[in-house]
Every structure is written in C-alpha cells, then in structure tokens.
C-alpha cells in the first residue's frame, strides 16, 4: 500500500487549517494535541500558523473508556493546558482517527478544564472503522486499510508512517 508523505500532508493540512480559521472567524485558536502523535502534528501546525499560545497537550489516560479492559496506561505524562480554556476556540489535533473513542475521551477531559466556545477536530489520517458519531472537521488523508492492518506514526523528527 502506498503511504502518503507526512511532511507534505502536514503542510497542506496547515494551509487548510488557516483557511478554516478564517472562514469561521476564529482569531485566537488554542491548538491542543493529544499525546503522543497528536502533539507532534500540533507542533507542525503551530510552526505554520504561529498561534499565540503555542501547543497545549492532552493526556487522556485518566479518561479512557477501556480501563476495565486494559488498565492504566503505564506511562501517564499528564496534560498541559492554559489556566483557562473558558470561551476559547479549541483545535483538537490527533494523528490518526479510528474508532472515535480517543476523541470522546479528549472532549470529556477538556470539559473538566472549562467550557470552550467551540471544539474543531483536525486529524492527519482517517482510517475509518468508526464506532462513535465523531467526524474530523479537517483531515489530511483518508486511508482504506485492509482488515487487521493499523498505521503507526513515529516521530517527532522525522515524522514517519508505517503499517503495523
């Protein structure tokens, strides 16, 4: 299977995000990357957009819905968000969207920090297999994988995509 060039996909995604912000009159977006891959993508987008607040990070370990199946993630790193996200326009960024459960957990966590004005979802890759009604507002590439296949992003420099 042909995998997309990540750097190029990131650059294009950045341009589309700039247009998206303008279209929706969002002047001071808060970029929030989901650990770990989402933070790398968020940092790439931040370099392009030069947003004021830099990149915030979200560690969803305490919010996952599969604790009873898989337990606690062994390496919890914690979230780093500004003092207040009240009334902010949040751009939630992840590397790969699949079931949608990570995004649900991330939104639950965000609401424990405050009540944002809006949340938009940006993902580098969409590999389908959705289990929840969650769709990205912007997505770099949609990949149709074979059954049982997964993609793995390694980084932060260089960002590389491989099949797993």
């Amino acid at each position: 299977m042909h995998l997309p060039d990540i750097e190029q996909t990131c650059t294009e995604l950045g341009q589309r995000l700039a247009a998206y912000l303008q279209q929706n009159n969002i002047e001071q977006p808060l970029l929030v990357g989901i650990r770990t891959g989402g933070v790398w993508i968020a940092e790439r987008l931040q370099q392009q957009l030069q947003t004021e607040d830099g990149v915030s990070t979200l560690d969803i370990s305490f919010y996952r819905d599969d604790f009873t199946r898989h337990g606690l993630h062994p390496q919890v790193k914690g979230s780093e968000l500004p003092d207040s996200i009240e009334d902010r326009h949040i751009i939630l960024i992840d590397d790969v969207v699949m079931s949608g459960r990570t995004i649900r957990a991330a939104m639950n966590e965000l609401f424990d920090y405050g009540r944002p004005a809006s949340i938009s979802l940006v993902c580098l890759l969409d590999i389908g297999r959705r289990e929840l009604p969650i769709q990205p507002d912007l997505c770099g590439v949609t990949l149709a994988l074979e059954e049982g296949q997964l993609v793995k992003l390694s980084g932060p420099t260089p960002l590389q995509l491989s099949l797993a």
Partner: protein, 347 residues
C-alpha cells in the same frame, strides 16, 4: 507462613495489584508511581478535581486503628478518581459484635467491593488479607503495626523529588523514634531503591533499632553530626506513650537534644527542606518557627498525599483488573471471540 510481601503485591508481569510495602519494589515501579502521581497533581489544581478513572468501583476504608488524616486523604483520593467509598469504623461495629475479621472481610467482598484500604495495629495485617483472605480485592496498606506505611513513604519521595529535583544523590536524615516507626522503615527502603546518596537516622539509642545499619543507614546520636550537609530532614512524630515506657527521659529533654530548631537547622545545607508526616507536636520534635518557616514543606506533603494515593489506587486497580480479565479469558477460552478491541487508536 506467608510469602514475600513484595511478590504478593505484583501481577505475574510485575505490575502492582496490591500496595503493601515499598520493600522489594523496583526502582522502575517506584518511579512509575511518582510519575503517575505527578499527573494527578495537575488534575488537583483544576476547578473540577475529579477524573473518571475508577467510576463504578467500590473502595472500602477499613481502619482498625484511628487516623483521621490518612483516612480522609484516602477518601478524597477515591472520590477524585470517581470511585464510591465506604468508611467503616471497624473497631466499633462488626468486631464488637463478635464477628471475626475474616467474616467481616468476606461479607464486604460479597458486596462486590473492589478495593480495601487497610490500617491495622498488627504488622503484616494487610499482607495477610491480600494473600489469604480476599486476594481478588486490591489491598492498599495504610499502615500496619511497626512494619510499613508505604503511601506515606511515597508521598515523601514525591515531596523530595518536587522540591529537590531528584532523590538520587541526596543526603536524607530521618530524626526521632525510628524504632517504632513504620513510616521510617518504608522511607528507608524507598530512599535506598531510588538512589539516595546517604540515609541517616538520628535519635537516642533507645529509639534506634539495633540492626538499622543492615538496612543501609548510618546511625547518629547527635543532631550536629547527623544533620551536617543534609538535603532533606524528615522529623518523625514523637509518641507520648514512649515516655511512659521509660525509653525517653522527658519531652523537654528530647526537644533539647533532638527537637528541630532554627539553630540546629543551620547544620544542614542552606536549601535543605524540612518534612514531617504529621500531626506535628510543636515544641516537642519541631519548633514552630521551623514548622512554619520557609524551608518547611509539611503542608505540601499533605497535598501530594492525595495525588500519591490516587496513583497507587489507580495502578493497583489496574493490575487487579488485568488479573480478573485473564482469569475470565481462561474460563471462556473456547468462546472464540476474535474481537476488534475498541479503545485508543493505535498511532
């Protein structure tokens, strides 16, 4: 005969499923507890202090010995993990009616409890429960006799790491009644494992265990010698009943020799921190000026205590859950469900 407690508390692949003692745990595991606790400190600073991690789980506080502070911090920790918590004043209830300890525990287990937080006056009580009574309930030791108080030790480790940068290479002095202190024992094991350069104990000969040097400590009888070049001073609470047992001359005499005053504090490094597990006896083991002074981190310890308890509760529940799942899998090996696991996307 019971087995090594450090093994009873671990799953087959080395994760925590009970938390009974710091003794025998690896540096990696102790560090994982501290890292997880660090993340919980940041959730404690939000308006919404709860996380949904242990939603639906039932935790029972079983305090066979009184301790308002420890019990409340465990209660808060459980609540901030979204668990349901039941406080049983065990001394006044079941056992008073003649029910045995084991019957009480089996009854609580039959109510689908997931975790017991146990404090008991007998050394080894938590270990005994974990191994022989209710092994499928996560047991957290909140202090057993003279043996161990592992969550207190870990909150002390977190305090040192946050205020002195690391534990590795630091000189730490523990002062007071080491002989009767489960806190000191747990601290010594954790400090040694986490790479403290020196662990010193300071106190009168009657209150230092004879075999203390076998634990890798150096014993000192004078504050002036023991505090020299220290990065961390941990004062222990002096229990008044020790005076009646003639192990000590008097409170006044003890304070004169071992009470931490501003003057004695100058023997240590200028940036040394002062710790105390609480509750403090002002004017007995520590002077008010020091307890409330700029080098004191005594109240920080209390805040970190909640985060550390959240961390070990989450980790032990996680290990316990893993074992339950494995057991369930073994029992339904034939069911042949090849499930695509819903969960975090692999990325």
């Amino acid at each position: 005969m019971t087995t090594d407690p450090s093994q009873v508390q671990l799953t087959a692949d080395g994760r925590l499923k009970h938390f009974l003692t710091t003794e025998g745990l690896s540096r990696e595991l102790l560090t994982e507890i501290l890292d997880t606790a660090d993340s919980f400190i940041s959730t404690q600073e939000r308006d919404v202090k709860k996380v949904p991690l242990l939603r639906g789980k039932t935790v029972v506080n079983l305090f066979f010995e009184n301790s308002t502070r420890t019990r409340s911090t465990f209660e808060l920790a459980a609540k901030r993990l979204s668990a349901d918590i039941l406080n049983l004043d065990i001394a006044k209830s079941a056992t008073a009616k003649g029910e045995t300890l084991m019957d009480t525990l089996w009854n609580l287990e039959a109510m689908y409890s997931d975790m017991f937080v146990v404090r008991h006056a007998d050394s080894g009580a938590a270990h005994f429960i974990a191994e022989h009574v209710t092994p499928n309930v996560a047991i957290i030791n909140a202090g057993d006799g003279r043996h161990a108080h592992p969550t207190q030790a870990m909150l002390d480790m977190l305090t040192i790491r946050r205020h002195q940068g690391s534990i590795e290479g630091k000189i730490v002095a523990i002062v007071g009644d080491i002989l009767h202190s489960r806190v000191a024992r747990s601290q010594i094991h954790a400090l040694r494992t986490l790479g403290a350069a020196e662990v010193r104990v300071i106190g009168p000969g009657t209150l230092l265990p004879r075999d203390i040097e076998a634990l890798g400590c150096k014993a000192y009888y004078r504050m002036e010698d023991g505090l020299k070049d220290c990065d961390v001073i941990i004062m222990l609470r002096l229990q008044k009943e020790r005076m009646q047992n003639a192990l000590l001359p008097s409170e006044g005499e003890f304070f004169k020799l071992y009470g931490l005053t501003e003057e004695k504090l100058t023997y240590a490094k200028p940036d040394a921190i002062v710790m105390h597990p609480g509750p403090i006896n002002r004017g007995v083991e520590i002077e008010s000026n020091v307890a409330d002074g700029p080098q004191s981190v005594i109240l920080n310890q209390v805040s970190y205590g909640i985060a550390v308890r959240m961390a070990v509760m989450a980790m032990a529940m996680s290990g316990q859950q893993q074992e339950r799942n494995e057991l369930a899998e073994q029992n339904s090996e034939q069911s042949d469900v090849h499930n695509n696991e819903p969960g975090q996307e692999e990325a």
